[in-house]
């Protein structure tokens, strides 16, 4: 831990270590706070899908259970168009399988953490906190927990608000760019590392080629191409 995170002093007395941990957790929470605004337009979309579902309560519960707006909207969309629960589940799982990659990438930094912290991290894991913690703190668990907690508290509230007002609010086309712009800005500094740059470039090309495919399959292909390109770049160094 201390080798990975210079700010953490392993040999320090427990109260100091606790204070340092709380400080890093607050730093993660603060870093996520401005990013939350980028989720508001998407939360309106998800909230609208929840409100117009044939079973709004179950759809709303999915905000916590699925905890991924794209997968939640896709599941509701498949059901709304007459697909059965099997089709809807396959689509949702395909979109959310990326979370396994995020969790696996976090593993080295979390090996020393107690199981309850790892479970909490898993429950709150999604794109933005993962990208933020990876870029700003090399997956520091305390920083991640702070960032993830901010989104975990805000996201259901935003989706709930979206369920009530989403159909009456038009945020405009520019609002659709908030989320990709924010996620892109969070990971952009990693382009300085050649393997990361290769992975992102390969994913970019793959995403363009697969733009007409369903999101789940396209993201899997982008992940495979990005991983292959990144590993090749590492070996070439």
């Amino acid at each position: 831990m201390s080798a990975a995170f210079p700010n953490a002093v392993a040999a320090a007395p427990a109260p100091t270590a606790q204070a340092d941990r709380r400080h890093r957790m607050r730093a993660g929470f603060r870093a996520m706070t401005p990013v939350l605004a980028a989720f508001a337009p998407f939360a309106l979309v998800v909230g609208t899908a929840v409100a117009s579902s044939s079973d709004p309560w179950s759809a709303w519960v999915g905000t916590w259970l699925v905890y991924g707006g794209a997968a939640q909207v896709a599941v509701l969309d498949v059901v709304a168009h007459g697909g059965g629960w099997v089709s809807a589940a396959i689509v949702g799982l395909l979109i959310n399988v990326r979370l396994a990659a995020y969790a696996a990438a976090m593993a080295p930094a979390w090996r020393a953490e107690p199981a309850r912290h790892r479970i909490a991290a898993a429950v709150m894991l999604t794109d933005a906190p993962w990208a933020l913690a990876r870029d700003r703190s090399r997956d520091d668990p305390a920083y991640f927990l702070g960032a993830a907690l901010a989104l975990f508290l805000a996201w259901p509230a935003m989706v709930t608000a979206g369920a009530f007002v989403g159909s009456r609010v038009d945020a405009g086309p520019v609002a659709d760019l908030l989320l990709p712009l924010t996620l892109g800005a969070v990971v952009a500094p990693q382009l300085r590392r050649r393997p990361a740059a290769a992975a992102i470039a390969a994913a970019l090309v793959t995403a363009v080629v697969t733009s007409d495919m369903d999101a789940g399959t396209a993201l899997l292909l982008a992940a495979a191409a990005g991983t292959a390109a990144g590993l090749a770049a590492e070996r070439a160094r």
């Binding site: 991924g68 997968a71 990659a101 696996a104 976090m106 429950v123 993962w130 990208a131 990709p180």
Partner: protein, 106 residues
């Protein structure tokens, strides 16, 4: 009932995707976690690209191109060390300016 079952299945599966690697963190070899990190970055890049390619704006011509330029401006600033808020604001401002400057579709 269909929505509830689908949500439960996707929720349980998604939780497994998240929990299993973290609970088994001590057993995951470093090369695998490294590859997973690259995969994660690739997915986030792909999510952003798909959002740009599927961007729709009835008020301007070539909306995906305008979106790509706007996001590009934001990403260049972020790459150069500007804050996320600055990069996002610059990207959005670029879109608004370009949208105002470009003619509407006939």
């Amino acid at each position: 009932m269909t929505v509830l079952i689908a949500v439960l299945v996707v929720g349980a599966g998604s939780l497994l995707f998240r929990v299993v690697p973290l609970l088994g963190a001590r057993h995951l070899p470093d090369p695998l976690t490294n590859a997973a990190g690259l995969a994660g970055l690739a997915v986030i890049a792909a999510l952003s690209v798909r959002a740009v390619l599927h961007h729709e704006d009835a008020g301007i011509v070539a909306a995906p191109l305008v979106a790509a330029i706007s996001i590009g401006v934001g990403l260049v600033l972020a790459f150069r060390g500007r804050s996320v808020a600055t990069a996002v604001a610059a990207g959005l401002a670029t879109y608004v300016v370009l949208a105002a400057a470009l003619p509407s579709p006939a």
